[in-house]
Symmetry: C2
Subunit: 246 residues, 2 copies
């Protein structure tokens, strides 16, 4: 047996999310089916980030233990031959036994992509959230500054979550405008994230950027968490898991 580390890209549009569900195709279940075909036995895949339904990935990482003697490059091609074209293995690497995509991860980077204006170009409509009214980028940036550092993000957690602690450390968080694709992008890196945390932060930041709430709300909600005072969770299809660090 050896442990493989997979780097993955996927278009989350048609999937119920990373995690295997009772009904619907999940990224995990489709990967496990492809691995089972190569291995000729059931294989469990662990993902670094359990992305929600509709969330995309440009750098998701997964791990699995395999018996196959195929070299890494051949294994990657075999996987892609067995996967739908919405999911691609971009790299396979044999790593030390004990490597676990989720537990070994030391950090993750997400991007949240916004089309800020009327008439979203048809080619990005499934890959960015449309905010029609003009956003004040300076307000967005001030809100992002408040997010950096170690805070209790309890207010920005999806309802019904049960976790040991809601304290997380965000090492960088900033907005990027003026990209050639015309998108306004929030990039955030942290040691770990709560469920729905990035989308909830973006939803509240956007309300500040539209001057519908004071930007000081970000600092206030991190100092004394109150789920009822945060903004609406931004839609899934703007979110991309970009990178996992080990």
């Amino acid at each position: 047996m050896r442990t493989l580390k997979f780097t993955l890209q996927y278009d989350g549009s048609g999937y119920v999310g990373w995690q295997r569900q009772a009904t619907g195709a999940s990224i995990q279940s489709v990967l496990e089916d492809a691995l089972a075909k190569i291995e000729g036995r059931p294989v469990v895949v662990h993902g670094a980030g359990r992305t929600d339904a509709g969330v995309h990935a440009l750098g998701q990482v997964a791990s699995a233990e395999v018996e196959s003697s195929l070299d890494d490059g051949t294994f990657a091609r075999a996987m892609n031959a067995n996967l739908p074209d919405a999911i691609r293995v971009v790299a396979v690497e044999t790593v030390a036994n004990g490597f676990h995509a989720r537990f070994s991860a030391t950090g993750k980077t997400y991007e949240y992509r916004i089309w800020n204006g009327p008439a979203v170009p048809p080619f990005i409509r499934l890959y960015a959230w449309q905010v029609s009214e003009p956003l004040a980028v300076d307000l967005l940036q001030r809100g992002a500054e408040a997010v950096r550092g170690t805070h209790d993000f309890a207010a920005f957690q999806g309802t019904g979550s049960v976790v040991h602690t809601t304290v997380r450390t965000i090492t960088s968080a900033s907005w990027h405008a003026g990209r050639p694709d015309g998108l306004l992008v929030f990039e955030i890196t942290g040691e770990g994230f709560l469920r729905h945390m990035v989308r909830s932060l973006v939803g509240t930041l956007v309300e500040a950027g539209l001057a519908r709430r004071p930007v000081e709300d970000m600092t206030r909600l991190l100092a004394s968490p109150d789920r009822s005072l945060v903004g609406r969770t931004a839609p899934a299809h703007g979110l991309f898991l970009m990178r996992v660090d080990y």
Copy 2:
């Protein structure tokens, strides 16, 4: 009555092409339905390029005569409110009566987009043709050079076409590599194009770029057209109508 010029973008993936067909949604029929809602009467739309099923547009132009007194900007918003998000009106302009999107056009520019390598990124799989084996860009460029100028393109015309003349003038044709999106793109501008002409040229150029035929075939096929000697027509989903000149 006034004449409107529409600039359009669309994702052609789910459509039977520009032209109204007996079955299936066409870009033309969807636009005419949206216009009919605004005008309260049937309206005919003329398109500059009759794109095939699956072909995309970033700068298609259409024209129609309307009675509405809405200003151009309001008319554009009303159209977008009545259109599926795969089709967007990016500009509406009132033009001189007699303007006809197709007959008034003096030139058109197309792009054909190729992902040259294994594992197409999921986000471009519907918007580029995958050619797995490495293409020799110098051979592609030499083939493109042969295309420029005035030639009889009869060999590169879709079967079953009936046109007055198969002679067309191509003012520019070249390949572009090293783009930030990683695509290899053929850009071609001409006064007019035959049916399937760009896709047929690309299919044959790619065979030359893979060294499966001599690049001199391009010159030969333009000098003495023989439909049976051209390459396979490249798939529709790599083709974009980029611009129409007047």
